[in-house]
């Protein structure tokens, strides 16, 4: 249904520009870089932009087009919708502002445009948004500056739905820069006058290229529909909801209504639908990135902690308790196997502080043998792994760990500590091998909580 947006054969850019300071230039430049269908720049001031013929108006475009990207003042929209209809367009992405968010005149324009679109069977995306990015097709249907993204752009299986305009760009850059999170589609939906989060969510649920869905939303157009969609899919859905403070409940007569105004309804509805709720953008991308690695968890048991530091093990245990995660009760057999690496005068205990063994046998041997023992323990359903960043840990080792995690279907989250350059190196090495790694302990724990919450509510068949 949204194919006119996601798979157009031809795109008209209303408001294309040769002025590099204008969004209309970057929309065209971005399309030229990754979109291989027909592109029709429209602007009466130019004959040609970036080597493409530029048309003075929509009527002058030879033949039909599927999609228009609109980037001119709002007052032209109702008319433009009609012009696009004559050219067989099925969708318009409106990236300019000046509509519902801009007073009575803007509201009137948005309403008239919607009426015209409904008559012509055209779907409207936006307005007041940044369009979308398709990481796998290298489509950047957005006025985002064309110099910003090419070197960090990365395709993948995470779909993003972002309500706020500029934040979607910030989000995307952050997500991509943090490394190793590939994006299938990142959609900025703006005022959502027609296309809303439910349309995109439904599309992403059915999209074979999307395995994980992350949302930043400030309102829900139809909350009941949103959670009904979420209930029906096993794809992880992670939501950061803005504006958690109250609405409704004003004319409340009962206790219940006065207690419901504070976001608790939304939060409860999300849990009911198995949606993972997060509270800031970093947590959203952290969690989405971890899920993008497709680790599986059979929940109901505890988490094992492998560390090189007693203190770090203690803090992680505390953070786990705060987050309702249980420390696994390791079997004697597991402890004995790991104990073989320890000196005779010391025995391992959980959380597993392995430093004394590492001193004797080195990182690789101790990590390998301990992880092998822990992962086979039936009391363990997940692992938090503290890795000291040292050039001694190589790619093969990271891949070996990742393979074990996959084989036993027990997810692991890594905390990487050490000299900054070594740590960053190890982190990307581990991430590339398919395991999520973070530089802060609480991020590990929060992500693991999300994973366990998801697989408890939506177990693997």
């Amino acid at each position: 249904m949204l194919d006119c947006f996601f798979n157009p054969k031809s795109v008209a850019i209303i408001g294309a520009s040769s002025n590099q300071n204008k969004g209309g230039y970057h929309i065209l430049k971005n399309l030229l870089a990754g979109f291989h269908g027909q592109i029709y720049p429209v602007n009466k001031s130019y004959r040609e932009i970036l080597g493409l013929p530029c048309y003075p108006d929509i009527a002058s475009i030879p033949g039909n087009f599927d999609l228009a990207i609109y980037f001119i003042p709002s007052k032209e929209l109702p008319h433009t919708v009609n012009e696009c209809a004559k050219k067989g367009a099925k969708g318009i992405i409106i990236e300019s502002g000046g509509f519902d968010e801009a007073g009575e005149e803007g509201k009137r324009l948005q309403k008239r445009a919607l009426e015209n679109a409904a008559k012509a069977g055209i779907r409207l995306w936006g307005p007041n948004c940044m369009g979308y990015v398709d990481g796998n097709r290298t489509y950047v249907f957005s006025f985002i500056h064309s110099a910003v993204w090419p070197d960090i752009f990365r395709g993948g299986n995470v779909g993003l739905i972002v309500q706020s305009g500029m934040l979607s760009a910030g989000f995307l850059l952050h997500a991509l820069q943090e490394g190793v999170m590939g994006v299938s589609k990142a959609c900025s939906i703006g005022n959502k006058c027609d296309i809303d989060e439910n349309d995109i969510l439904e599309y992403m649920i059915n999209d074979s290229e999307t395995d994980v869905i992350g949302c930043y939303l400030e309102s829900l157009v139809d909350g009941r529909k949103f959670i009904n969609l979420a209930k029906k899919t096993k794809k992880p859905i992670i939501v950061l909801m803005g504006g958690r403070s109250a609405e409704g409940a004003k004319a409340a007569q009962s206790h219940t209504a006065s207690l419901s105004g504070n976001y608790k309804v939304t939060s409860g509805a999300f849990r009911q639908a198995g949606i993972i709720e997060v509270f800031d953008p970093a947590e959203l991308t952290d969690t989405a990135r971890a899920f993008s690695k497709k680790m599986i968890c059979h929940t109901g048991k505890g988490t094992a902690i492998l560390t090189f530091s007693g203190g770090a093990g203690t803090i992680t245990t505390d953070l786990m308790a705060d987050n309702g995660l249980e420390l696994a009760k390791l079997s004697d057999k597991t402890l004995d196997t790991i104990g073989e690496l320890f000196p005779p005068w010391n025995k391992p205990d959980h959380p597993l502080d392995l430093w004394i063994a590492i001193e004797r046998h080195g990182f690789e041997k101790v990590f390998r043998q301990s992880l092998n023992a822990v992962i086979k323990d039936p009391a363990v359903d997940s692992i938090i792994f503290h890795s000291y960043a040292t050039p001694l840990v190589g790619r093969e080792f990271a891949e070996e760990l990742a393979a074990l995690i996959k084989k036993y279907e027990k997810p692991a989250v890594l905390w990487v500590e050490g000299r900054k350059d070594f740590a960053e190196h190890l982190r990307s090495l581990v991430e590339n091998a398919g395991l999520p790694a973070y530089r802060e302990m609480n991020r590990c724990v929060t992500v693991l909580r999300g994973i366990k919450q998801h697989f408890t509510k939506k177990p693997i068949d």
Binding site: L220, S260, R271
Partner: protein
């Protein structure tokens, strides 16, 4: 349900406690034994039948917060007190449907069950800590109706004061099955009757191991 139909027809905004009790009881919520009485003699007779102590409440669909309106008298221990309180309540308000004589229920653990119609999610069920701490602590959780059994169990395990629902200071653990049934039932009311705007069951007292509604308010659209 006839009670609801009648109230809607009369253009009323709330049901009286007596009516509200009948509505929630039909949904599977235990309610405390009570009788609506019209005369002093009737009130005494009912009180003697259920055994003291009893509570007397002035019952009217026009008074939604009875305590604030001085329409609730607790711990009444004999016929003489019943007679006296009956007269006092009758004198305070003109349009009473009657005086509700209610068996006093003992239980230190008080919860709340509610129904709201959220602008975004439609009918939603609330569960949480009730009694005088309801608003101060706001230890409540919501689910969108209709509820599955699992939804209700999740709610019960989600509140911070869930320990109160286990064995607590010599009291037995709450019968989770009854509580689950009540939560599911209230959600179903919201789905079935579009005209119900809100329901408030507070307190829901844990009596032995059974959750029993001691006060109920049904608000209509």
């Amino acid at each position: 349900m006839d009670i609801i139909k009648k109230a809607v027809k009369e253009g009323r905004k709330t049901l009286s406690e007596y009516e509200s009790r009948q509505v929630i009881e039909s949904a599977g919520v235990f309610v405390v034994a009570a009788a609506l009485t019209k005369t002093k003699e009737e009130a005494i007779q009912e009180a003697e039948k259920m055994g003291y102590p009893v509570a007397l409440k002035g019952c009217s669909s026009e008074i939604s917060h009875k305590t604030e309106a001085g329409m609730v008298a607790l711990n009444i221990n004999n016929a003489q007190e019943v007679a006296q309180v009956f007269d006092e309540l009758s004198a305070k308000a003109k349009n009473l449907d009657g005086v509700l004589v209610e068996k006093m229920v003992r239980g230190a653990r008080e919860f709340v069950i509610g129904l709201i119609r959220d602008p975004n999610f439609g009918p939603c069920v609330m569960f949480g800590l009730g009694g005088i701490f309801t608003e101060a602590l706001q230890d409540v959780t919501f689910r969108v109706a209709p509820l599955t059994r699992e939804d209700a169990l999740e709610m019960i395990d989600e509140i911070k004061t869930k320990k109160l629902l286990g064995e607590f200071r010599g009291s037995p653990a709450v019968d989770r099955e009854s509580l689950t049934k009540a939560l599911v039932g209230i959600g179903d009311l919201g789905i079935k009757y579009d005209c119900i705007a809100e329901i408030d069951i507070n307190p829901l007292i844990i009596c032995g191991d059974k959750p029993v509604a001691v006060d109920a308010l049904v608000v209509l659209k």
